[in-house]
């Protein structure tokens, strides 16, 4: 039975501040009682990952990692969420690794394959940017070089 997972676009939609606050309170309350249910931890972590702020995403991924470690039954889903979290943060390497592990387990999962696609696209895009940068730097360098040589000859 394929796991129910959200599309990556869902991760871009963030919760309102109040909602996130409610989730945070729930999580902290349970933490104070020293019995944190998996669901509330996940709720908070997912809310954090959806937020646009980098610190939140980092914290969210950290919580997801804790869930991964603690609950073997939930690991498969966590693979996806971790991949998504890393994808949002920009750690495409990790994202790809988690996602590929998930695809090994569940080859038919649509969300996983779409996430893989997204990761590849992003990596390529950044690669092009990088190439453009290097090229631009090289171009500027050549121009300056040519100018200096001309000046030197004169």
């Amino acid at each position: 039975m394929p796991t129910e997972l959200p599309y990556a676009a869902d991760a871009e939609v963030s919760l309102s501040y109040d909602e996130l606050d409610v989730l945070r309170r729930q999580y902290e309350k349970e933490l104070a009682q020293s019995h944190v249910t998996v669901q509330s931890k996940f709720n908070y972590a997912w809310g954090l990952v959806k937020s646009p702020m980098r610190e939140h995403q980092v914290e969210g991924v950290r919580l997801l990692q804790e869930i991964y470690r603690a609950e073997p039954g939930r690991r498969r889903e966590c693979l996806y969420y971790l991949a998504l979290g890393h994808y949002k943060m920009g750690n495409y390497e990790e994202a790809r690794r988690f996602n590929s592990l998930l695809r090994e387990k569940e080859p038919t999962n649509m969300q996983a394959s779409s996430l893989e696609q997204l990761i590849d696209d992003r990596v390529k895009r950044e690669g092009y940017i990088g190439m453009a940068l290097v090229g631009g730097a090289a171009a500027i360098g050549t121009i300056l070089l040519a100018g200096l040589i001309r000046r030197a000859r004169k």
Partner: protein
């Protein structure tokens, strides 16, 4: 433009790159090849290539660019380091500007933590989801429990809110609670004014209200029309909400189940810890006993090292073996014996064992059986019979052994004192007698039997020999003294140093001095029964004693309840057991009462009632007295209050017991020996290699237990 210029640049650089080609990368794709080719100098000969660049164009390689290159590689390294390969490719370069533009962002420890954990996590197993995880995915749970799931409900409630004239409900409720609501009144009014202006349908409702006066009030819901779409939407929302509720319920049930498991596990741990605590208590009691034993030993060794004051003081250990609490001296091999196993069996008797006692573990054992007037003496180290005690004319019913001194009481109403060192001599004489039997023809009995010093048993075939007569004065025999005085069978005895107390079927107890061999005092139990120390009815026997007490008026004979093998006897021992300490004497008798006597006056000062059958065995220490009886129970009495501390019930009559601070060992009419742990209140049974018929008598010292049963075998156990 950028790509063409890069291509122009590629040729001269490729020459450099070939030198600088690093380890082959496994990745493929044009992007990666290009990035490898161009960035190789950055990674490997960073310093060299930078130097080349700086020579060529000092203006280009500004510190800024250098920083960019450096920071790019350093920034990427922490995040990608653990993955093993430092892939500085275009992608990371591409990220550099975005990072710069976003401002200085510090890499926190959290980032590192995350990334480092990835490696470890990826290697962990990912099992199939099952149970809750399969039924309710995390996402569904999320959607079911986030606050926005409540939104639809509140929205629906709002759609149902009906515009009504301001009722100032809040003021009413506050007034009901007894709070002042003046401010709210103000607010209510001002808001009301606004509401009046905003609400559109107000006039309508007012109008309707007027009409209603004539037709009766219409319900609130009739005034509102929601529309079909709205209603359909609401039905969908409600269904979704119900699903959410179902999801939440599943989640909570799973949590409850998990917590129940945890509680059970913790309970199990707690029980185990409590048991450990009990075990420690037991060990503490054992150590207390050991301490006492060591103290005694200290005194003894000190007294032996000092010059002796009188010969008698040195002769024996300060306390009799019955009261010694400390551990005994055992051969080292005894520790290796598995506990609870009978490792030695002494067979030789032909009838059920009636009494036994031993001097010390691996010392000397004396045991007697029914229909045999000669108790046998065994050496416990070898398991061999050393000899027999000849002298009694009826079966021996009670024995006590202290070092080399042995006292036996028998059915022939006499009590005999034996020196166990002399038992070997008797054997020698016995064998020599057999040889000369043929010589005996006409010679008959008439061997001097009386006289306290010499006893020679008269065999039915008349083994009285001329030799015995001639050597009479030289042979002393093992028996050193005969005590006569009772008129019926002696069934219980207890001695300590020079004082002996015996109980007999004539319902009296006698106190003897062993030095002189004279009876010092006689205590009449029958008289004590009819004259109880507490004020009560005179002559007739009090009716709180069981009916068998009526039998105590005449000859006492009570049938025992059947043992485990179905057999039963007639129990005739009116005095089942005696023990004394100093001047305090305790007796257990056939009327079921345990009496405490003062030996100075010979009067009983306390009677412990509770048993409904004759008391067969008894022992007491400073705190408790424990008695067993034919009523299949063992009672533990508290000596300070005189009340029953505990009663242990068994399936058959109890015939023997012994206890210490930690356990009670009892013979309860079964093949196995019952051990009751007093700290943990657990029962256990010794069965391995045990008796084949019910156990009758037992005695233990430290971890060495000797038991005798109706199968005529004496077994020795390691506890």
């Amino acid at each position: 433009m950028a790509s063409s210029s890069t291509k122009k640049k590629r040729e001269p650089r490729v020459a450099l790159d070939n030198l600088a080609e690093g380890p082959s990368r496994s990745s493929s794709g044009t992007l990666d090849v290009v990035s490898k080719a161009i960035l190789a100098p950055f990674t490997h000969r960073k310093h060299d290539s930078n130097k080349i660049f700086s020579d060529l164009a000092p203006a280009i390689m500004t510190p800024r660019m250098m920083n960019a290159a450096a920071t790019v590689s350093s920034k990427s390294r922490p995040s990608l380091g653990p993955s093993g390969t430092s892939r500085v490719d275009f992608a990371t370069l591409g990220r550099a500007p975005s990072r710069f533009t976003l401002g200085s962002r510090r890499i926190t420890s959290r980032d590192l933590q995350i990334v480092e954990a990835t490696e470890e996590l990826l290697h962990e197993e990912v099992p199939e989801p099952e149970g809750v995880a399969q039924n309710v995915s995390l996402l569904r749970g999320f959607n079911a429990t986030i606050p926005s799931s409540e939104k639809s409900r509140t929205r629906r409630r709002q759609t149902r809110s009906v515009e009504t004239p301001r009722l100032s409900l809040k003021k009413l409720s506050l007034g009901a609670r007894g709070m002042l609501g003046e401010d709210d009144e103000h607010e209510g009014e001002s808001v009301a004014s606004e509401e009046d202006m905003v609400v559109v349908g107000r006039s309508e409702t007012r109008g309707r209200k007027l009409k209603a006066k004539r037709r009766g009030r219409q319900s609130l819901s009739a005034g509102k029309v929601l529309g079909k779409d709205e209603l359909v939407r609401q039905t969908h929302e409600i269904e979704r909400d119900k699903e959410n509720l179902h999801v939440r319920r599943t989640l909570i049930s799973a949590e409850i189940a998990e917590i129940t498991h945890k509680i059970e596990a913790l309970d199990a741990i707690r029980n185990k810890l409590e048991q450990d605590l009990l075990k420690l208590q037991e060990d503490e009691l054992e150590l207390d006993d050991e301490l006492e034993g060591v103290k005694e030993r200290l005194e003894l060794e000190e007294s032996t090292s000092r010059p002796p004051k009188s010969p008698t003081q040195q002769a024996h250990l300060p306390q009799s073996s019955r009261r010694r609490k400390g551990p005994a001296f055992l051969p080292s091999e005894h520790d290796e014996l598995p506990p609870g196993v009978a490792f030695m069996s002494l067979s030789g008797h032909t009838a059920p064992i009636t009494a036994l006692d031993f001097s010390e573990p691996y010392g000397t054992l004396v045991s007697a059986s029914q229909e045999d007037s000669q108790p046998r003496v065994w050496d416990l180290l070898t398991g061999e019979e050393i000899g027999r005690l000849r002298g009694h004319r009826g079966s021996v019913k009670c024995i006590q052994v202290e070092d080399q001194v042995c006292l036996t009481g028998g059915e022939d109403t006499t009590v005999r004192l034996w020196d166990l060192r002399k038992v070997d001599e008797d054997e020698e004489w016995e064998t020599s007698e057999i040889l000369s039997l043929s010589d005996v023809a006409e010679e008959d009995e008439s061997v001097a039997e009386d006289g306290p010093k010499v006893q020679r048993d008269r065999e039915p075939d008349g083994k009285a020999i001329r030799q015995s007569g001639t050597s009479e004065p030289e042979r002393s025999g093992a028996c050193t003294r005969v005590l006569e005085g009772h008129s019926k069978a002696v069934s219980a005895l207890y001695f300590e140093e020079d004082c002996l107390v015996t109980g007999a079927a004539d319902k009296t107890m006698r106190q003897w001095d062993l030095q002189t061999g004279q009876c010092v005092m006689t205590m009449d139990i029958l008289w004590a029964i009819s004259h109880p120390p507490t004020v009560g009815p005179g002559g007739p026997i009090p009716n709180y004693l069981f009916s068998g007490a009526a039998a105590s008026a005449g000859t006492f004979a009570v049938p025992t309840p059947p043992f485990a093998d179905g057999t039963w006897d007639m129990y005739r021992d009116f005095v089942g057991a005696v023990q004394f300490w100093g001047y305090a004497l305790m007796s257990g008798s056939g009327d079921g009462a345990v009496r405490m006597w003062d030996m100075r006056t010979g009067q009983p000062h306390r009677t412990l009632l509770g048993h409904t059958g004759p008391v067969t065995c008894l022992q007491f220490d400073e705190l408790h007295a424990i008695s067993g009886s034919l009523d299949k129970s063992i009672r533990i009495w508290d000596l300070r209050t005189g009340g029953i501390f505990e009663t242990l019930k068994y399936d058959h009559a109890v015939t023997a017991l012994q206890f210490d601070t930690r356990k009670i060992v009892a013979a309860t009419g079964e093949n196995g020996i019952k051990i009751y742990n007093r700290t943990s209140m657990q029962h256990s049974t010794l069965l391995t290699n045990g008796h084949t018929r019910p156990v009758e008598k037992l005695r233990y010292m430290d971890r060495y237990l000797v038991s005798g049963g109706r199968d005529s075998v004496v077994k020795i156990w390691a506890l």
